[in-house]
Structures are given as structure tokens and as C-alpha cells.
Symmetry: C2
Subunit: 330 residues, 2 copies
Amino acid sequence: MAETGKRATARAHSNIAFVKYWGNRDRRLRLPANSSISMNLSSLHTTTTVEWRDQFTQDNLTINGSAAAEGARRRVQNHLDALRARFEIDAFARVDSQNNFPMGTGIASSASAFAALTLAAVSALGVQIPEHEMSRLARLGSGSAARSIPAGFVEWHAGDSHEASFAESFAAARHWDLVDVIAIVSREHKRVGSSAGHETAASSIFQSARTATAPERIRSAKSAILRRDFERFASVVEQDSNLMHAVMMTSAPPLFYWAPLSLRIMQAVRRWRQEEGLEVCYTLDAGPNVHCICRAGAADAVANRLRGLSQGLAIASSPVGPGAYILPAV
Amino acid sequence: MAETGKRATARAHSNIAFVKYWGNRDRRLRLPANSSISMNLSSLHTTTTVEWRDQFTQDNLTINGSAAAEGARRRVQNHLDALRARFEIDAFARVDSQNNFPMGTGIASSASAFAALTLAAVSALGVQIPEHEMSRLARLGSGSAARSIPAGFVEWHAGDSHEASFAESFAAARHWDLVDVIAIVSREHKRVGSSAGHETAASSIFQSARTATAPERIRSAKSAILRRDFERFASVVEQDSNLMHAVMMTSAPPLFYWAPLSLRIMQAVRRWRQEEGLEVCYTLDAGPNVHCICRAGAADAVANRLRGLSQGLAIASSPVGPGAYILPAV
């Protein structure tokens, strides 16, 4: 039985997938339909403090200083239940979570949130577990959170069991100076969140071909990253994003995450690369924001061009980030 | 040997597919990868006069009063070659073709053009052939032209041979008062025309699932049309359009025919139907124009709403049309 009565603060970074996670083979365990590849985003993070105390009579959750909404509270409670079961404790927890970026816009807030929560909660118990195990536990809260535990460039092995499904780093953050220049097309909350969306994936007649060919794209994307081959990287990243959105648009009911401006940006990015030689490619998660991936030296040019497409467009920008880590006690 | 030295004028109508044709199983014979369903468009037509004359030393083609461009001329010559072979003649032809709508905007001008050309050319020879045979011959010029030969609501049986691949009517034009309200998003020429596009279809990992499930959608669309069940019709029509565009977007190279405004209109149409009960659905061919299909009584409301989305938007509108027919000599 683990020790309680302690607290810990952890930070985890958002991540952007280059080969996407969409659909689960096991919903309860969040075992994904296919392996995925991502990089952590240094500038976008969640900082979470967890305190376990035997005297607490219930779990308590604040997000960005306010009591959390019912849906978020229940999801965090479920995750704490999983951790209580794993570490054989009964105590409730006080959880305080701060995002430095807007939630529900397609920037994966649940990834950094559940990675930070898991690391803080486990650390507060005073137990040491391997990174693979931390990634597995984070996965139970939000699939893509598994990828926010290891550092830099990360592969999440789909696996066919809880034990086999975890993420690990395959290249350090410093390996390649990629930047994610994010066009914030909308700050509105998604009509259909990722968790609900994953459930519809299998209703598309295209999902099985997407998942069956994911291993090839994983190999190709990893190889492009390891060789720093931008042209090959761009081709597989855009293809994989298109494949996922094609599945979404052909699900029942169809999910259209692209906004008209998203499409305009995608087409411009492709043109900039293919006709003007600017090394940049796009990828979109389950939301309208367009993640424009480029080398550090091109980030300003990409941001300026994006602003030229749409006046007043908000832009967030992030280099490759570290894995989740513990912050000193405050 | 057929008689030459005669002329004939034929008119054929454009058609809009509800279950789409995309990709060929035999490129030369234009045997399609899957069967398709369409309705003819009464307001959009091509009128073509063909004159065969032994004295002509070459084929001659004018489109809308001007000498045709090289690409169009060669395609028409190839089609005339096929007709010469079929009817065992050597004569060249003078062809004059008039469209009453802009070409290359995703309104299928090649469908009406090759249907009218085929009917006029055969009629000018003074021979009588069954409608199935006329449809087969039109198919050799442009796949979807096969569908502009029969009247009203039409099914093109994919077939696995020249003999087996033809279109026939399954409901008369008067059966259901559908109208195609077309948002003319762009008058620009397509960067990648349909013929070149068909060649790329097999490069999408999704094409085989699309074609394998087409027979279900054919059954469902035919049944919805025969029962005049708009809700079911809308669902299969939008799904099939999404499936085709998903294949296009995931081909190598990816083909994006949607403009940002196309996407905006698609999303609005869906909202009008699902949230406001307006009976309208969308479908897009290999171009950015959005075909909004509704009952005749809703056509004005649909056109007004479309104009409300985008000031100055050009709109073409058409009820269900007849098959190809011969015009009196002028």
C-alpha cells in the first residue's frame, strides 16, 4: 500500500500527432486502433498539483482556478479510481490544474492534462514507476496523454493489452528543430469531442484500410524524422491527416472538423511548399485549427503568411518539447 | 456500311450523380469501377450538329462558335474514330457544339457534350440503334455521357465488358419534382480534369472500400427515389459525395476539389436540413460547385439562403430533365 498525505506538482506538454490516433480497439482501456507518432509541444502545457489526503471525503478538481464542470470532474474521478485501484489506496485527492492554452480548440488539452495529472498523482503517492508504466496509466485517462509522458519525438505502440500499449521516445527534442505554428481558426468548443468521435471511427467504411496501413506510415514518418527529411515527412504527415479526416467525414454521423478557413490554410500551405519551396506542411486534429509544421528558421515566415491569409488570425507557436516532469514544491 | 452525307442536330442534358462514378476498371473502354445513379438536368444542355461528308479532308470542331482547343479536338476525333469503326465509314465530320452553361466548373459538360455528339453523329448516318447501344457508344467518349442518353432518373450499370456497361432510366423525369440548385463557387477551369482524376482513384487506400459498397448505396438511392423518401435520399447522397471526395483527397497526389466556400455551403445545407427541417442535401462532382438537391417547392428558399451565405454568388437551377433527343433540322 502506497503512502498518502503528500502532494506533488507536475507539468506535461501538449503533443501534435504526425500519424494520428483515431478509434479504439478497446474503449475501456483506450487501446487504440493503430499506433501513432507525435512530438511534444514545449509552449503548450498543463501544470497540475495533486494532494492525496485520508481526511478528504471526496475528490476535488479545479481547472484554471475554477471548480470544474461535471463532465471533466467525472472523467478525472474515473482516472483517480484507476490509480487508487493500481496503488491500492482509498484516499481522495485535491487536484488543481492550470492550462496555459485554451481548451477544446483541437489543441489536445486532454493529453497534457491527463499526463500531468497522472505524473503528479503517482508522485504524490511517493512511488517510483518506470516511464512505460506512467505512459500506460496516463493512457487510461486520455489515449493521447500516453504520448505526453516521454520526451521529444514519441511513438505510442498500439498494443493489444494494457501492458503492451504505451508510448516511448524515439528521438530527443533537440534532434530536429521543428516548430508547430498553429493557426487558431476557432476557440469554440468542439461539437463532438475526441472521446465521442473515437466511438464513431469504426462506422466509416474507410477506417479498416486506414488502420491496416498505419504501420507503413509509422515507419515512413519515423524514418523521415530520424533522417530529417522534410519532404518525405511533409508527404506522410499531410497524407495521414487527410486519411483521418476522410474517415471522420464518412462516419455515421459524418464529422466535419474542418472550417472553411482550415481548408483555405491547408491549400495555401501545400502551395507554399510545392510551388514556392517553403518547407512547411499541415496536420489537423479533431478540430479546425491548422498545425503548420516547419523548421525553426521558417516559423516567422509561416506565421506572417498565415496572417496574410486571414487578418487578425490568432497564432500559437511551439518548438519540440520535453516529456512530463515534476516541478519543485511551491 | 452506313449512309453518309447527312447531318443531324441532337440535344443532351447534363446530369448530376447521386451515387458517383470515380475510377475506371478499364480506361480505354471507360468501364467504371462502380455503377452510378444520376438525374438529368433539364436547364443545362449541349446542342450539337454533326455533318458527315465524304469530301471533308479532316474532322472539324467548333464549340460555342469558336474553333476548339487541341485537347477537345483530339478527344472528339478519338470518339469519331470509335464511331467510324463501329459503323464502318471513312468520312470525316463537321461538328458544331453549343453549351448553354460554362464548361470546366464541375457541371459535367463532357457528359452532355458526348451524349449529344454521339446521338447527332449516329443519327446523321441514318442508322437506328437501341438506347442501350447509344448509351454504350456515348460512354466511350466520356463515362458519364452514358447517363445523359436515357431520360429522368438513370442507373449506369458498371458492367465488365463494353456490352454490359450502359445506362438506363429507372424513373421518368416527372416521377419526383427534384431540383438541382447549383452554387457556382468558381468558374475557373479545373486544375485536374475528371479524366486525369479517374486515373488517380486507385492510388487511394479507400477506393476499394468505396467501390465494394457502391451496390448498397445504389440500392438505397434507387429505393429512396422510387419511394420519394427525401430523408433517406439525402443521407445516401451526401454520404456518397463525401466518400468520393475522401478518395480524391487521399489519392497520390491528393485532389482537393472543395473550395473553402464549398465547405461552408455543405455545412450550411446539412444544418438547414437537420436543424431547420428544410429538405435539401448537397453533392459535389469533380469541382467546387455545390449541387443542392431539393423539392421544387423549396428551390427558391434554398437559392435565397445560398445568396445569404455569400453575396453575389451565382446560382444555376434545374429540374429533372429528359434524355437525349434529336432536334428538327434547322
